[in-house]
């Protein structure tokens, strides 16, 4: 890192939240992604959250075209994208308008004055220029007004770009400045730019020039006495090799790993485009060399039906969607349950009901996953807690599916799908295998013969000589596998299907406590992506001396065997959820504990402060 001739000492910060915001054409996602890489390389822990606009290409400069990228990084464990923003980089008026409310009092605004034209102000709905510091609009904040537009055009002059291409480099100038401000390197960004624009070197060089210019500006310009550079020390992290990963990629890797551990040669993945799950279909489509067959089906129902067929034929069938698509798959799930076929269904939950808010996160499909079929039709359900955790959860989903011959729903959400965090890379070879065998012995064979331990039926696949059989959705005899309407048989089959899923609890670990002791005054119990905010809140509460623990549930059906007993060790149980109360209802009905919900359904994740406040309120009472 170059130091200027007159370098001022950097203030040390423990953690910072930066939000880059601009028009969807301004490259905020790229900016954020690069800042993330440089931050990871600088040794900080981090969590990121991209906030895409709902429209594909909204009219430039409008508030519904604003795209943002938030990164929370620091010298300690970072679990959430950050409750409050410390630095808002606003590349146009609309970005300022939309995001100002999340900036903390005293926070810093870095604004490109060159974009605050009358036209843009109008489009953003400002009647006057908020950057005009005579007014009160921004009195509570520090404001750094920079004509990034002009600086950019200056910096790219030697490269002979047209106006449009030149202006597209503004984000790199802003990035350069912010990298200087937090003492990050630029090498990885330079390499990424060169790689991306390998075919247009003049664009690559122009972008790099802007990056360097923004950085140099920070070093040399008089930005104001209270705007200095900051140092954010390395976080103490476990030694090892890391990469950043988002939930989508983690699930893709986990599915492939699971199939490998099962000793199966093939994974057939079918999906239908739906926000925010399409990215998983894309990720899987690029894994052809790893035994993955992908199929974009004509609709959600065809997708699950195709993978049911694939499982019948001996591959592992996997499908993925979001709430509305899972709703469509309901009948087919029933068939997979009745036919006792292995299947993984990944639900990246989003705000509902119906079309809801496709790009906003929520965790309101738990009831759907556990209960949402006609008849008594149980299946296994698990939920990922963080992007990196999704890898392990996907492997586990495959294990349960093939070991118990059952569909498994893996719950993720829009936040987890897109958010990234550092991932301590596991050694795949060290992950325990769970080899599955297709049945081959014709002796005494019938398709519903069961393993006495797991109650799973044999997996006998077409192509195997001597095992020719027919299965279907109609109730079948426990003894022979042929169609049966016998009343006692239906009871018996219903009971065995329930027992099989309940018995999964024998192969999963006991519920651990994520933070704090296994008894106390209050347990905060969560599932899914509330992990970060809950953990952060409970940590702060414990630092303040409160007897509170954090329990985070991964296996939601069946629950771990000790969960009820564990909950009874606490005086009170609080369940924060991004829904109207689903896990809390399940805990109450399963364990008869008077658990209480803390419910938020806004399309945004919990802030750790919200949970901390709720903890204090219950501890004081």
């Amino acid at each position: 890192m170059a130091t200027s001739a007159v370098s001022r000492p950097r203030e040390v910060r423990d953690s910072v939240v930066i939000r880059f915001a601009g028009d969807s054409g301004d490259g905020m996602q790229v900016t954020g992604a690069q800042f993330t890489v440089e931050t990871a390389l600088a040794g900080n822990d981090l969590t990121t959250f991209p906030d895409f606009p709902a429209e594909i290409r909204a009219p430039a400069g409008t508030t519904f075209g604003v795209s943002a990228f938030q990164i929370h990084f620091g010298a300690q464990e970072i679990l959430t994208p950050g409750d409050e923003v410390d630095v808002l980089v606003a590349m146009n008026p609309a970005a300022l308008k939309v995001n100002l409310g999340d900036l903390r009092a005293g926070g810093l605004i870095v604004a490109d004055t060159g974009a605050f034209t009358e036209r843009n102000l109008q489009k953003a709905g400002y009647s006057s220029d908020p950057l005009d510091l005579e007014g009160d609009a921004l009195a509570r904040y520090q404001v750094l007004k920079l004509d990034i537009t002009r600086h950019t055009l200056e910096a790219v002059k030697p490269f002979g770009l047209g106006q449009k291409d030149a202006l597209r480099c503004r984000n790199m100038w802003a990035l350069g400045l912010l990298l200087w401000m937090y003492g990050r390197d630029r090498q990885a960004t330079r390499e990424a730019i060169e790689k991306k624009f390998a075919r247009r070197p003049e664009i690559a060089q122009a972008n790099i020039a802007c990056l360097n210019a923004g950085h140099a500006f920070g070093e040399t310009a008089e930005l104001g006495s209270d705007i200095t550079g900051f140092a954010v020390p390395r976080a103490p992290v476990q030694p090892g090799t890391y990469r950043t990963i988002n939930g989508t990629d983690a699930i893709a890797f986990g599915l492939v790993t699971g199939v490998h551990k099962a000793g199966l040669g093939k994974l057939v993945f079918a999906g239908y485009p739906i926000t925010p799950a399409s990215a998983l279909l894309h990720a899987m489509a690029n894994l052809k060399q790893y035994g993955v067959v992908t199929f974009q089906a004509e609709d959600e129902i065809a997708a699950i039906c195709a993978v049911i067929g694939a499982s019948f034929a001996g591959a592992l069938g996997v499908t993925s969607s979001s709430g509305p698509g899972v709703a469509l798959k309901t009948e087919a799930l029933g068939l997979a349950i009745a036919a006792e076929l292995p299947l993984v269904l990944v639900n990246s939950q989003r705000a509902g009901p119906s079309t809801g808010m496709p790009t906003k996160t929520e965790q309101s499909d738990l009831f759907q996953a556990v209960y949402g079929r006609n008849s008594d039709a149980p299946l296994a359900v698990l939920a990922a807690a963080t992007p990196a955790d999704a890898f392990e959860c996907a492997v586990e989903a495959v294990r349960i599916a093939v070991t118990y011959m059952t569909p498994v729903i893996l719950l993720s959400d829009g936040f987890l799908a897109n958010a990234a965090e550092p991932w301590l890379l596991p050694d795949i070879e060290a992950i325990p295998a769970f080899p599955v065998r297709h049945h081959t012995d014709p002796q005494g064979f019938y398709p519903y013969m069961r393993d006495p331990k797991t109650l799973a039926r044999v997996w006998a696949v077409p192509g195997t000589p001597g095992l020719e059989h027919r299965i279907g959705g109609i109730e079948r005899s426990y003894e022979t596998g042929h169609i049966s309407y016998d009343p006692d048989n239906h009871q018996r089959m219903t009971d065995v299907r329930a027992a099989k899923v309940a018995g999964i609890a024998n192969s999963i670990p006991e519920q651990q406590v994520a933070h704090g002791p296994a008894r106390g005054r209050l347990a905060v119990v969560g599932w899914g992506s509330t992990y970060g905010p809950i953990h952060s809140a409970v940590r702060q509460a414990r630092e303040a001396g409160l007897e509170v623990s954090h329990i985070h549930v991964r296996w939601l059906n069946p629950f771990p065997g000790n969960l009820g007993e564990l909950l009874r060790q606490f005086d009170r149980v609080l369940v924060p959820e991004m829904n109207k109360g689903q896990l809390v209802t399940m805990l109450r009905s399963t364990y008869l504990v008077p658990a209480e919900g803390l419910n938020k359904v806004t399309g945004k994740p919990f802030k750790s402060a919200e949970i901390l406040e709720a903890i204090r309120a219950r501890m004081e009472g």
Partner: protein, 335 residues
């Protein structure tokens, strides 16, 4: 030395429960015969069905079988074929299962040209649920849900298949064996999605609905048996034929001989002509005979084959997952 399998070897041990006199028995028999003639491997053959009387079919076969959910057999069959392209996959469906709830999946299986054989038992009614009208029922069909007669226009299964881009479309009558066997055999031979519409008589809820062209007395005049390369002739002494109405893109039925109509005027069947197939598929009595046999057969790119070619082209099979997860930018933290 492998035993030669007989038709009865393809029958399962289950008692067949269709109504006595149902056309499904004849189709079952024809399928057993077809598989025997082909020397089909029972372990490699899979019958996939949806819901309906037709869809009980797999239980009566000694091959692999999957009785699935209403309308979804083509999608499930596609998945089976993608998981194991070596399997010989047949779909058994009906006019309700395949063209009502299942229309979308039928369309896409045909469009994609997945190498499966679809047999659609068209009895122009919903049998299993006791007699409601179906998308192929003639306008005015009285049924429990349409006591005053149905008011919607039927879809033509073969025109739908052709419109979907199917590359093999054929028709047969349930009891007309050996013709049905010949058609099924050609369907099996065709690499890609084969669509066979079988006019099947539902003896309880729609008995005799096809009598207007299948009854013995009218059959010769009312049925046009297609043979690629042969003229479109029909009638008791094959004295009737089809030609294009002079100056119009429209078929007309003419008698060869009188009014200067010679054999040369009669169209010759061309299985590779989709437009002709579409016209033939639309022919209805009393004005025209019903076209039977292979209306269209023109192989094209086949989804499962292309998919596996793409997988091959992506590169050699890799097992090193440690390398996979370490792609992209990584960094190390020392102890």
């Amino acid at each position: 030395m492998a035993t030669v399998l007989q038709p009865k070897d393809y029958a399962s041990d289950q008692e067949v429960r269709w109504c006595p006199g149902c056309g499904d028995y004849a189709i079952l028999k024809a399928v057993h015969k077809t598989l025997a003639d082909l020397g089909a491997s029972r372990e490699k053959t899979v019958f996939v069905s949806g819901i309906g009387c037709s869809s009980r079919f797999p239980y009566y076969m000694s091959t692999y079988g999957f009785h699935t959910i209403h309308g979804r057999a083509p999608a499930i069959a596609t998945g089976i074929k993608l998981a194991n392209p070596e399997l010989d996959v047949w779909v058994v469906t009906g006019d309700g299962d395949g063209l009502s709830i299942g229309g979308n999946h039928t369309l896409h299986a045909l469009r994609r040209n997945v190498d499966i054989n679809i047999i659609l038992f068209n009895n122009e009614i919903y049998g299993l649920t006791k007699g409601q009208y179906s998308p192929t029922s003639r306008r005015g069909t009285r049924s429990p849900s349409t006591p005053q007669g149905s008011i919607d226009n039927p879809v033509s299964a073969c025109q739908f298949a052709l419109g979907a881009g199917a590359r093999f479309v054929a028709r047969a009558v349930d009891t007309a064996q050996p013709h049905l066997v010949q058609v099924l055999r050609r369907a099996h031979e065709h690499r890609g999605a084969s669509f066979v519409e079988v006019f099947q008589n539902c003896v309880v809820f729609n008995d005799g609905v096809f009598d207007n062209f299948t009854a013995k007395e009218v059959a010769p005049e009312a049925q046009l048996h297609l043979e690629h390369g042969l003229p479109l002739l029909f009638g008791k002494d094959r004295s009737r034929g089809l030609r294009l109405k002079p100056g119009r893109f429209e078929l007309e039925a003419v008698t060869v001989g009188p009014n200067g109509v010679s054999l040369d005027d009669i169209l010759v069947h061309d299985e590779r002509n989709r437009a002709l197939a579409m016209l033939l598929a639309g022919l209805e009595p009393p004005q025209f005979p019903v076209a039977l046999g292979v209306l269209y057969c023109d192989s094209g790119p086949c989804y499962d084959r292309d998919l596996y070619e793409q997988i091959q082209a992506a590169g050699p099979r890799r097992e090193d997952l440690n390398a996979l997860i370490r792609q992209g930018r990584t960094w190390s933290v020392a102890p």
